[in-house]
Amino acid sequence: MDDFSNAVALALRLILSGDAELYAIIRLSLTVSLAAALIAGVLGSVAGAALAVFRFPGRRALVLLANSLLGLPPVVVGLAAYILFSRAGPLGAWGLLFTPPAMVIVQTVLATPIVTAIVHRAAEEMWALYGDGLQMAGATRAEIIPELLKLARLPLLTALLAGFGRTISEVGAIIIVGGNIAGFTRTMTTAIALQTSMGNLPFALALGLVLITISIALNGAAFAIADRRKRP
């Protein structure tokens, strides 16, 4: 149990120390994961609502696909992106391998199905309740999408936070395409993996506690904003 109490004390000391290297790592983690979650939020909410509103062949297959991709293994996404972005690969000329933008791309791929699936479920309910009425009022299906998203505000927030939860905790994909380069592509999760491999277990655990604390703070802030919006 010593390791755990050491880790808690160490985590507190780390947060309070203002250590520049640690804060740079936290900043990169948040930047990459928030960017990916926001892009996934835009893509996924439009896709999820469109899947609820439009009727076309293959729609059910796409819904099934989005739900299946919830279990997309990060290491496979990372590997596929590595092959694409490698200088020898088809997109090698972009020079993205071992850079933060490559990390944003793989995390966006991982988070988009999550947002899509959650928003789709909520938008479908809203469509069943209000779709007919909105159509009778003369709105086209495309015009209804933003209306549905407005009605499904809370599930949309849940979807965004779920997407962020996926990106901030993810290590398998970003360690492959990012390379865990000190001061450049090292994030909280890849730093934890590195410290574990160096046998620095209490320090690795302390970094984990810092990461969890940040996640709680961010989720708390999001819910607080949502609560205030709900009140008149």
Partner: protein
């Protein structure tokens, strides 16, 4: 709703701008894990940056993977420690110069209880035979790293085939740190490089059980890439770093790195044991 959408897009763009900021010239170094995880590169890179203004982006991988990364054109320079794999890399025409920059040695670490009676011995082949005969737990890297390649050579020297070993032989398919963590958790033996061992913190009951065999010498080479196969690599910047590593200043920096009073790497010029 529309305004919130615009807000999301803008926020995402600002964040993307944040990750794509411009910076100093840099090279990508595909490096074996031991020189990075042991803290050596962390110690000497700031010195190189100060004299050259060049950032070195270290991607730490097993030697096999590091060489493959360079083969694909994803690195500008490699720093590895597997003579046979390096020979092949040079023969394929990927490398143009190969220079030794440092050396240390491999050791067998194991639980203090030492069930295979290794302590006191200096013959690594005999040690492997003892482990085999005792059926003592042994952690194998199995990741095509330099250490893994040496381990396989030693089994061969002992005329033993680890694929026919019993369940005491654990092929973990992981890095040196993962192997040491596994050995610590299982009270198992494993072959380790001294640099990673000295810097490793989670030793549990592990100690050095065998050392001092000349066959356990571990040399680290820096290999510059051939422009014919790697026209896009930043070979000029890479050459600057390679030259610095073997220069007086770089060699002094490597020799000066110690942890808890122990030297982790000997500069190339240090006399090797004979």
């Amino acid at each position: 709703m529309k305004s919130r959408f615009v807000f999301f897009v803008c926020a995402a763009l600002i964040l993307l701008g944040g990750v794509a900021r411009a910076e100093d010239p840099f090279i990508v170094l595909a490096s074996t894990t031991s020189v990075d995880n042991s803290g050596l590169l962390g110690q000497i890179l700031p010195l190189f940056k100060k004299t050259s203004g060049i950032d070195v982006h270290v991607v730490a991988l097993g030697t096999g993977q590091a060489l493959d990364t360079a083969r694909r054109g994803d690195a500008d320079l490699v720093l590895v420690h597997d003579p046979d794999a390096e020979d092949l890399f040079m023969k394929e025409g990927h490398g143009i110069t190969r220079r030794e920059l440092a050396w240390n040695d491999f050791i067998i670490v194991g639980a203090k209880a030492d069930p295979a009676k290794l302590i006191g011995g200096h013959d690594v082949v005999a040690g492997f035979k003892n482990i085999w005969n005792a059926g003592a737990p042994f952690v194998s890297r199995g990741d095509k790293s330099g250490t893994d390649a040496l381990e396989k050579r030693i089994w061969k020297m002992a005329s033993l085939d680890p694929t026919k070993a019993g369940p005491w032989f654990k092929d973990i398919g992981g890095g040196m740190g993962a192997a040491l963590n596994a050995a610590a958790g299982l009270d198992a033996y494993t072959l380790a490089d001294r640099g990673t061992w000295i810097s490793f913190k989670n030793r549990a009951t592990l100690i050095i059980t065998l050392e001092g065999d000349l066959r356990l010498l571990n040399r680290y080479d820096v290999i510059e890439l051939d422009p014919k196969l790697h026209p896009k690599a930043k070979l000029d910047l890479a050459k600057k770093f390679a030259d610095w590593l073997v220069s007086k200043e770089g060699q002094a920096a490597i020799g000066a790195y110690t942890l808890e009073g122990e030297k982790l790497f000997h500069p190339e010029a240090d006399a090797k044991p004979t």
